[in-house]
């Protein structure tokens, strides 16, 4: 499955947050990582699409007063997502290996 870079980042961030992933925490982590400001809309639409593709699982968490008494929705990656991420990782490491052995695509 092909993933957009942004989606890939979202998935990675969720894995990274380790069971503490919900809308705002994902947003903050990604902003920090990318050093750019992101809208809630961009995060939410990515989350919904990923969930629909079966890459994310979600359940309601605890309500907090900071959220006006509304519950969080906690996200976790599925094993299917893990497999995809691993594939990507494998590809990337292959890239890294190939650059080490001196293949230069620009010259090919």
């Amino acid at each position: 499955m092909e993933l957009k870079t942004f989606d890939e980042l979202v998935l990675l961030t969720i894995t990274d947050l380790n069971e503490q992933a919900y809308g705002v925490s994902i947003k903050k982590a990604m902003e920090q990582q990318l050093n750019a400001s992101l809208s809630i809309g961009s995060i939410q639409s990515a989350l919904k699409q990923l969930e629909a593709k079966g890459l994310l699982l979600s359940k309601y968490g605890e309500p907090t007063s900071r959220r006006g008494g509304r519950r969080k929705r906690m996200y976790d990656v599925t094993s299917y997502a893990n497999r995809i991420l691993n594939e990507i990782k494998a590809k990337t490491s292959l890239w890294e290996d190939s650059t080490k052995t001196g293949v230069n695509f620009q010259s090919v």
Binding site: Y22, G23, V24, K27, S39, I40, G41, S42, Q44, S45, K48, Q49, P63, T64, S65, R66, R67, G68, R70, R71, K72, R73
Partner: protein, 872 residues
């Protein structure tokens, strides 16, 4: 938390509008959390602005609601598709669609109109708040030979009941309505004369019992003063040119009594039996008619109404009245007079007591017939629809096959067909409503004689919806099931021509034609009876006669001679009224031999007549002679044959005999041949002519010409004699015809509805035939090739229908026989049913059906086989 700032409200509202509901809680929470994060480093204004921006950025396809829910979306598409297919089907066969819609529109329109009529006629006087507890006191009088039913009672009755019956909540006494003359002075000082037919005298309790709509004046006090008058809007406008601010103005009754206007009420509604154009206090009537108002033995047009606290008390009160009346009635009257309570709402439909003055009656049997007609006309239209749709089912078979093959369920198909036809029916219903609206006006106009005021209101919405729903259910369900039950394997096996439901279609056709023939035969019988009725020898002449009142007995001779001097006048006679009672106006008396007791007196009608009366009306003397002089006291009688029979005399024996009537004793000098002194619904009764000088109230004038100029000259002559009176005249023929208004109405109604029924039936047959002939074009081609003649082919198509019509005919006969005999029983002068009437109806139906199919069949039969067999 150091800050209790809240995010702005309105972006949230927008968010809730567009965001999918299931995401709302999560996203709202995120937004608020971010807002509070921002607040820690920024001002609340900045935070609010960022909040708004975030909301706007949430407008993404993934997160936004669908235009409608998923489920609805598929249904909507399906319905749209089905409607489109339905519409195409309507267009594809315009003739059939038109026949379908036309038949059904006629059926539903007729049903709606009839039901509105029935609702109107059965709801008379129901609008009064106390209607359920209000009763009219009616009187039964037992004479030795018959029982007479009165809707009026003695005048002192109400006051006496009020006095003695504490358990009766309200009692009111009325007199009339009567005809009265009024004079009104206008601004310029001129005196205008008016005659009003329906002047009601009512006591002060009347407005409490009946709901009059007061425009001006106080209902509590308006009738308490003796010399007051309450006008209806119409009369106010007639007298004063306006119904505004007429309170306090003066009108004078009969040129002498001054009445002050104390109130204005709305005109009496059409659906009320209690007619009034103005109301004068009953006390006024009592004051001026002392004798009548205190007389317990007479019955002169007074009515008492009572309101009971509980309708269950009706029989209690009746039995108390029975034992109580002896307190006032003399012993003889107490024996024969009995009082009963009649519910207000039954006054209009209970024929026993006759109609009240100025109103009319609609017997319950007539209303039941109307319900019956409405149901059957709707039924026949529905049957038609079902028949045509199922007949055409074959042409939809392939569509059903394909649909089933691609996975349509049977219920889905049923739904499709119900929807498709249901929409068509809904459209016809809208047509019907428009048509009804137009026709009701016409109907009201046609029946202005009874002041019919039918209208289509929102209150009828429920009724019309009910008719619509019933029609849709009955007309669509069966065809839908037939259509959806086709099995694809059969359809594509080319056996689709044989579909189920054909035997049912046959029985529906039989049902339809049974009704058609029922109506045809019934219409023939009604027509013959009404004709018989109208052409009945009355026993006197009525052509070209006008009648006009005599206002002053002194002037009779002058009036007669000046009328006879006019060339337009052929002859003049004066009497107490025409030979036949019109509008129930008869002078009643009792007769007996002078030595017999008064209680043995028999009922008779008395007619006062001048010397010319018998000749004038062509009344034939069997024996004896005419009067030679009118005098007071009278001394001669002429009797009719019916009276003769009741005394068991021969004509010759009667001459010279003395007879005693209520008004005095005299000698019989002649016997006149029987003539219809009562309208034809009733038997001829005993009649006594009297040579009196009193009660010569009516001049009858035989005109040589009845053009407006001639009539105007008569008016001039009359007005010369009675300068301060209002002239009016009636044609005797018209007055007599008015006695048969109800019979004419029944006849016209029956004719119209029979024509409609036949028309719908023909439409159905036409549709069926055109379809069947089309379907069998090839078969006809082959038959022709093999040598079939035109008549063979005609028979081939029509023999089945001839069979069905014959079966229907046999089924219709007993029903018509039974019901028409019932109807005829109400007539004294009636025809007898005979076989030819039935045969005529059957033959007529066959002929019409044959002619209808003939053209369809001829079209198919004349096609050259080369043409019909080529297209394979």
């Amino acid at each position: 938390m150091k800050n209790i700032q809240q995010p702005p409200k309105w972006p949230l509202r927008i968010l809730r509008f567009f965001l999918k509901d299931e995401y709302l809680e999560e996203v709202e929470g995120d937004l608020e959390e971010v807002y509070h994060d921002v607040l820690e480093t920024h001002t609340s204004v900045k935070a609010g602005r960022m909040y708004t921006t975030e909301v706007i950025k949430l407008l993404r396809p993934v997160l936004v609601k669908r235009l409608s829910g998923n489920q609805k979306l598929t249904q909507y598409g399906m319905i749209r598709h089905q409607l489109k297919i339905g519409w195409r089907n309507i267009l594809r066969d315009k003739v059939h669609s038109l026949i379908n819609v036309a038949g059904l529109t006629i059926g539903t329109t007729a049903a709606i109109i009839l039901f509105i009529f029935i609702k109107y006629e059965s709801g008379f006087d129901g609008f009064h708040q106390l209607a359920d507890r209000t009763y009219r006191v009616v009187q039964h009088t037992n004479f030795p030979e018959e029982e007479v039913f009165w809707n009026t009672t003695a005048y002192p009755l109400a006051a006496a009941i009020r006095e003695d019956f504490s358990e009766v909540e309200l009692v009111t006494q009325t007199a009339g309505p009567f005809k009265r003359m009024f004079s009104v002075e206008d601004e310029t000082g001129d005196i205008n004369l008016f005659e009003e037919d329906h002047v009601l005298f009512a006591d002060e309790w009347y407005p409490q019992v009946f709901d009059l709509e007061w425009i001006a004046g106080d209902k509590k006090t308006a009738l308490s003063d003796l010399n007051s008058v309450v006008l209806s809007e119409r009369v106010a406008a007639r007298f004063f040119g306006t119904s505004q601010s007429v309170i306090g103005r003066i009108i004078s009754l009969n040129g002498k009594d001054q009445l002050k206007v104390t109130g204005v009420v709305k005109n009496a509604p059409g659906n009320s039996n209690l007619r009034y154009s103005m109301i004068v206090p009953y006390e006024f009537f009592k004051f001026h008619n002392n004798y009548f108002a205190n007389n317990w033995s007479g019955n002169y047009g007074g009515t008492a109404f009572v309101v009971l606290p509980d309708p269950a008390n009706e029989t209690n009160i009746e039995s108390r009245l029975e034992s109580w009346k002896g307190k006032y009635l003399d012993p003889e009257d107490n024996q024969r007079i009995h009082y009963f309570l009649q519910p207000l709402k039954e006054i209009h439909t209970e024929a026993l007591y006759g109609s009240t003055i100025g109103s009319y009656q609609m017997p319950a049997t007539f209303l039941n017939t109307a319900i019956f007609i409405a149901v059957f006309i709707l039924a026949i239209a529905i049957v038609n629809f079902v028949n045509l749709v199922t007949a055409k089912a074959g042409s939809r078979a392939r569509e059903v096959g394909i649909r089933k093959v691609v996975g349509a369920s049977k219920t889905g198909l049923v739904r499709q067909f119900i929807l498709e036809k249901g929409i068509l029916i809904a459209f016809t219903l809208f047509f019907s409503i428009g048509l009804t609206h137009l026709l009701l006006d016409q109907l009201n106009h046609l029946m202005a004689i009874v002041n019919l005021q039918l209208e289509l209101t929102w209150n009828d919405a429920a009724l019309i919806s009910l008719i619509g729903i019933v029609t849709i259910l009955l007309a669509t369900t069966y065809p839908a099931f037939v259509l959806s039950s086709f099995r694809p394997i059969q359809i594509f096996n080319k056996t689709a021509g044989r579909f189920r439901g054909f035997s049912l279609r046959k029985s529906l056709t039989v049902f339809q034609f049974t009704i058609v023939q029922f109506f045809v035969i019934a219409a023939i019988i009604v027509g013959i009876q009404v004709n018989h009725f109208r052409n009945q020898e009355l026993g006197f002449t009525s052509e070209a006669i006008i009648t006009t009142p005599v206002m002053d007995g002194e002037k009779i001779e002058v009036l007669k001679s000046s009328l006879l001097a006019n060339p337009n006048v052929k002859d003049v006679a004066v009497g107490s009224g025409p030979p036949m009672a019109v509008e129930g106006m008869q002078l009643g008396t009792t007769y007996r031999l002078p030595h017999n007791a008064e209680a043995d007196g028999l009922q008779a009608e008395m007619k006062v007549s001048d010397l010319n009366y018998l000749d004038f009306y062509g009344l034939e003397l069997v024996t004896g002679r005419d009067f030679v002089q009118n005098k007071h006291p009278f001394d001669e009688f002429i009797i009719n044959e019916t009276l003769l029979k009741s005394m068991n005399w021969t004509a010759e024996e009667a001459l010279g005999k003395r007879l005693q009537i209520n008004e005095g004793e005299a000698t019989i000098v002649g016997v006149v041949k029987d003539f219809h002194n009562n309208s034809l619904q009733h038997q001829i009764g005993p009649v006594i002519f009297i040579n009196w000088t009193f009660l010569l109230d009516e001049t009858a004038i035989r005109m040589a010409a009845t053009n407006p100029l001639a009539l105007y000259e008569v008016e001039q002559i009359w007005s010369e004699q009675f300068p301060d009176k209002v002239y009016s005249h009636h044609f005797l023929d018209d007055s007599i015809a008015r006695e048969y208004a109800m019979e004419s109405l029944i006849f016209n109604g029956f004719t119209i509805f029979s024509v409609l029924v036949v028309f719908i039936g023909i439409l159905g047959l036409l549709g069926l035939m055109s379809f069947i002939t089309l379907q069998k074009t090839k078969e006809v081609g082959i038959r022709k090739v093999l040598g079939a003649s035109f008549s063979n082919i005609f028979l081939f198509f029509s023999k089945e229908y001839i069979m069905l019509i014959l079966i229907a005919f046999i089924l219709a006969i007993p029903a018509v026989w039974y019901l028409m005999n019932q109807w005829l029983e109400d007539f004294v002068y009636r025809i007898d049913l005979s076989v030819w009437m039935f045969v005529a109806g059957g033959v007529l139906t066959l002929l019409v059906a044959g002619m209808t199919s003939f053209f369809q069949i001829a079209k198919t039969a004349s096609v050259n086989p080369v043409e019909s067999l080529r297209n394979e």
